[in-house]
Symmetry: C2
Subunit: 425 residues, 2 copies
């Protein structure tokens, strides 16, 4: 048992130093590229492993090459506490999305090691693989594998750029996809005491409200129609009166307008929800300025912490489709629906983070996460989970993504104290 009585400071200099090296090695000329199960992610894992070894941590890897950087506890049979995030990035992305969660964990363990602290149970920093679905069309590849949930079918998908399968990429990096497919987990969910993640917000709320750190209330579930289609009929723009048109652009534009209005109404009624139509396009070959458009392809993305809100907007969508079909003589086919369940954050762990922030006099905002995160996979697997957001600028998944180190330092301090109070208090 450790004899330090005060909580050690986390090693923020380590974050700064590592972010500099990561940026240097993964800058692609435009932004940051750390390709999942490719050279970029490999280099980031090698750098992180070297640092962990230098810090005297134990290093384990699972069959999917997620990396477990362990500060051994007194009782190694007890359930460990984990701090984790991912090291991959989107193509031409930013340096902070993912990486700061791993570095935050190492900064804490480095501080504890320097102070000679031995926690009662293992504290594990988890460097997760392949979180960004920009590479493989499967979400949370690494955390799914860590929890024994990645399937044979998932492993068969191909990487968008290379055309090679996830299994092939994993094998090339030294992993064992056959073992992954068997669903074995180094740490099954029921054997994990808690999972914490620090991540940039990716949205503007902390920045707009000038608050450095956010406590995530929950991770939104999503309801998506990736391949929605409106089928109307091409017709001469000048020669076709209004009442004889089957105008795919007008019908789809009306649908988007109605959904936007409904979103505003639902927010006023207290629903937490987002609605986005990110793609909307007429046929590049068939459409023309002097034709009523016969088709529109589009997609719909709804997110909410609450299943009931998603259900409500989905019912409204069906109502609109019926109404617009009659009104404009078009067929609107939303296509296959995909859903991800909302992930509930642990009330106890959220309270611990809030208390630590209060004790440190660091202002925090409670806000939902509209984006998905590895934490969602741990939470839906039954692991008590909580997340902190760090204020950041210019969104994410782009080279302009920005963050100020003092804001990261504040989030790390909050997590550091919350962990200390949880394990050592």
């Amino acid at each position: 048992m450790n004899h330090a009585t005060a909580c050690p400071e986390p090693d923020i200099t380590l974050c700064e130093e590592m972010l500099r090296v990561l940026k240097q090695q993964s800058f692609d000329g435009i932004g940051i590229t750390r390709d999942a199960y490719g050279e970029g992610e490999q280099q980031a894992h090698q750098l992180t492993e070297a640092l962990a070894l230098k810090l005297g941590l134990e290093v384990k890897k699972d069959a999917a090459l997620n990396m477990y950087l362990i500060l051994p506890g007194e009782d190694r049979q007890q359930k460990p506490v984990m701090i984790g995030s991912h090291l991959d990035s989107v193509p031409n992305g930013g340096n902070y999305d993912g990486a700061i969660g791993v570095l935050a964990g190492l900064a804490i363990l480095s501080g504890w090691r320097a102070a000679g602290v031995q926690p009662p149970v293992d504290v594990i920093v988890l460097a997760i693989r392949a979180e960004e679905s920009a590479w493989f069309p499967v979400s949370y590849v690494g955390s799914k594998a860590a929890l024994g949930r990645l399937t044979e079918r998932d492993l068969a998908v191909t990487r968008r750029d290379s055309g090679l399968s996830l299994a092939q990429h994993m094998r090339q990096c030294g992993g064992d996809p056959a073992a992954v497919a068997q669903g074995h987990a180094l740490y099954p969910p029921e054997r994990i005491q808690a999972f914490f993640e620090i991540h940039i917000e990716q949205g503007p709320q902390l920045e707009e409200q000038q608050i450095p750190v956010g406590v995530v209330s929950g991770i939104c579930g999503s309801l998506r129609y990736r391949f929605a289609h409106t089928q109307g009929r091409y017709a001469h723009s000048g020669a076709t009166p209004r009442q004889w048109r089957q105008d795919a652009v007008v019908a789809t534009a009306m649908l988007i307008s109605l959904l936007q209005r409904k979103w505003r109404q639902m927010e006023r009624q207290g629903h937490q929800l987002t609605f986005t139509c990110g793609r909307f396009f007429t046929d590049p070959l068939a459409a023309d300025m002097s034709k009523v458009s016969g088709t529109v392809d589009f997609c719909l993305d709804f997110r909410s912490e609450n299943r009931a809100s998603l259900q409500a907007i989905d019912s409204y969508l069906a109502h609109c489709i019926a109404r617009l079909t009659t009104r404009y003589g078009v067929t609107i086919t939303p296509g296959e629906q995909s859903r991800s369940e909302a992930a509930t954050m642990s009330t106890e762990l959220k309270a611990r983070l809030q208390q630590a922030a209060d004790a440190l006099a660091i202002p925090v905002l409670t806000l939902p996460s509209g984006a998905g995160h590895d934490s969602a996979m741990f939470a839906v697997s039954g692991v008590p989970t909580a997340m902190l957001f760090v204020r950041n600028q210019n969104g994410s998944h782009n080279p302009e993504e920005a963050m100020n180190l003092p804001d990261l330092a504040k989030a790390v301090q909050v997590l550091n104290l919350a962990l200390w109070n949880m394990l050592m208090g």
Copy 2:
């Protein structure tokens, strides 16, 4: 002077026969292709010339290779009457758009020749070049040239498929672009007594109202924004609350919805108008299901017989843009405006067509032409002009374009009698 006392029948069999041969020689495997100043149009002109010579007509060509098929009148110094349309088609188009106007004229002259009629002035069937702007990005190439209005700049544009200039194509077919550019007209507008055109409707009004023939009230002018653009800001779909979005799709969809609503209102107030957004697309590379869209490109096409109606909708557009800019934090740039003036049809000639239809007990509908036609060029040049529409099915500019020969026969009978009454009555 001719001594026939009754109006001869037009030679409808000629139309049927010629449509069959035209279809055979210009079927491209999908639809009809008679490319302007290319092989397809050349073949159609050769076929038509051969027929005209067989009918004993005089044949002249101008420097742009428009063809004048002349039944000489008694006084060749007097202003001739013209019947004309174009022989080119869009790629994968239909057989009737354009061609029937030339064949209708020949059917009339064939009937008159067979009856030994010599009119008091020349009656000229004009086979016009390159009406479809699918080939060269200039409208009414042939009629402009016929009227001495085709410019050096027009002649420099390139054909969309070949990359060769209009001048080069014209020269390859045996024309003289340098002479065309000098603006010489075989028949200047002030030397033409009247111009008539028969054309398929291209819209559904005659078909829906079960009327075989239409008298065109006027040819709509247009007001177009070919390259309108909405600039918003890309943002994470889940992480960006409504109030911080600059959503290009939502703003543009609202604009289209507002314009559509305004169109309906204006029609109720008695305006004659069409509004079409034929193209609407997010960036194929940057847009994504999980991003608020940062850009939309789109186009707007408004048409009306009345300049005031176009002015009214254009003012409303400016109002909407200002309103949506404020509301959604986007920039909507309509881009360069292009206009074509509405073409007024001759009241006298319209009345003559109506009287002939009444005398023949052929029901006709008076309706505007939303599409542009060679007639528009003659009308805006000051030539007294009138048009008849023939009921057709499935629109035009597509392989399904359809028409029933008896409907064409009725239109030809109407024009035949109107001409007879005008010249011989």
